[in-house]
């Protein structure tokens, strides 16, 4: 296996031809999306350059505190992003539940993955710690976002059903079961679907990256399989925690539905 071909600035610049092409098409077709495409391209370029240098610095300094700092930043950003992405305003108690499930769900999966599956040394090795944390946190964030939306929607749309169940003497858990199940379902379905299509419909990014950089495909798939299982675990754990604690935030201590 050969190492990867290093790209010169000029070669990367050549790839911007795609953007130019798109801009021309948009212009000709009269689709008013040039601004968004331009901003997206610039943001993508700047953010990646920045992250590249940050990673170089982190890998060279090999400092446990920096690794933890990055983890905290990623986690906070993910949680903030979930709040932003939800279509409806979240109650404070639901926000707490989101933060708690994200932190507990992703951290426990991450620690298990790094120290039991991959067994990295030193424990804070940023080369493993950061990208894997990114994948677990990112996927769990997407999962929980879907779960949050479905839970809020379900509790609103099926309010009369939930309430009718309470009237019949159901516990809040029984009354919210359908809504909770469907929130869990919609949150983990994308992960399951991507597992089904993996290797046939598309080659996953991490594996492609490793192969490009000269790693043997068999090693790359071993990592990919492990990370997919890790992602599934992390997403399920975060989402289970979220829905199990989340539905409770809709009821008060007298097992009544809270009024908005």
């Amino acid at each position: 296996m050969n190492g990867i071909i290093d790209l010169s600035v000029l070669q990367v610049a050549a790839a911007y031809i795609f953007i130019l092409l798109l801009m021309v098409i948009l212009k000709v077709k009269g689709i008013p999306r040039e601004k968004e495409v331009l901003i997206a391209s610039i943001r993508m370029t700047l953010q990646l350059i920045l992250v590249g240098y940050v990673l170089v610095y982190l890998f060279e300094s090999m400092n446990p505190f920096l690794t933890i700092l990055v983890l905290v930043i990623m986690e906070s950003f993910a949680i903030y992003n979930i709040f932003q992405r939800s279509g409806r305003p979240l109650s404070n108690s639901l926000k707490k539940v989101v933060a708690l499930s994200m932190a507990f769900g992703t951290l426990s999966s991450l620690l298990f993955f790094l120290f039991v599956v991959i067994r990295i040394a030193p424990w804070y090795d940023p080369q493993y710690f950061i990208p894997i944390a990114g994948m677990l946190i990112g996927n769990s964030m997407t999962g929980i976002s879907l779960g949050v939306n479905r839970l809020l929607e379900g509790m609103k749309e099926r309010k009369s059903l939930v309430e009718a169940a309470l009237m019949l003497g159901a516990t809040p858990k029984q009354a919210a079961k359908e809504v909770v199940d469907s929130a869990f379902d919609s949150a983990i379905l994308p992960t399951i679907n991507s597992m089904v299509g993996m290797g046939i419909v598309f080659l996953p990014g991490m594996m492609t990256g490793q192969i490009l950089s000269g790693v043997s495909p068999t090693t790359a798939i071993a990592y990919q399989i492990a990370i997919m299982l890790g992602i599934l675990g992390s997403v399920s754990l975060t989402v289970i925690l979220f829905v199990q604690l989340g539905y409770q935030s809709f009821f008060n201590d007298r097992d009544q539905l809270k009024t908005d």
């Binding site: 009237m167 003497g169 097992d255």
Partner: protein, 211 residues
Amino acid sequence: MFTFTNVCYKDILSVPHLIIHEKEITCIVGESGSGKTTLLRLLNHLISPDKGSITFHGENLLFLDPVALRRRVVMLPQTPVIFQGSLQDNLAIGLRFSQQPLPAESVFKEVLQRVKLDKTLGEDAEKLSGGEKQRLALGRILLMEPEVLLLDEPSSALDDATESLIMKIFVDYAKEQNKTLIMITHSKALATDFGDRILEVKGGNVYEWDH
């Protein structure tokens, strides 16, 4: 059985004193928006009063286990709620929620007959008409045999003939089984026919009619 003392709920109800008696049929009348449903919701403990106290057999509702209370004081909402599944699933769900054992199939069939639903147990409940759904929901709480039945306009989705029929079924049932029945009705005639006692909700307070 239920005693209200200085109960206030938002700006909807303000009831200085009210007693609802055990093993009686209490009909609640009043204009729409007067707070009749709020009154039932207070009894079922779906909401708590902002001020004052409501007691059930002498105990403040706030100190009773809410779920256990609702299993004794079951409420039927005005718009019938249908759960996913067959007629039998829908009849059984009240028993499931309240963790009571499920009876034999013949008991379910009997209940369908009692609420005048000429259907089979396996049918999809979603396919029923509005009035049929209402009767199914009524059958559901008949099966639960709670101590107190709270019915919010049980007949709103029924035609006149079925209406008095269904009300009669419930009244007979309550009398036979020594249950307490508290129901809202829009029809003053029905209230006078069936009620042992008639309460009118008006201006946030509750008044008893001479009967």
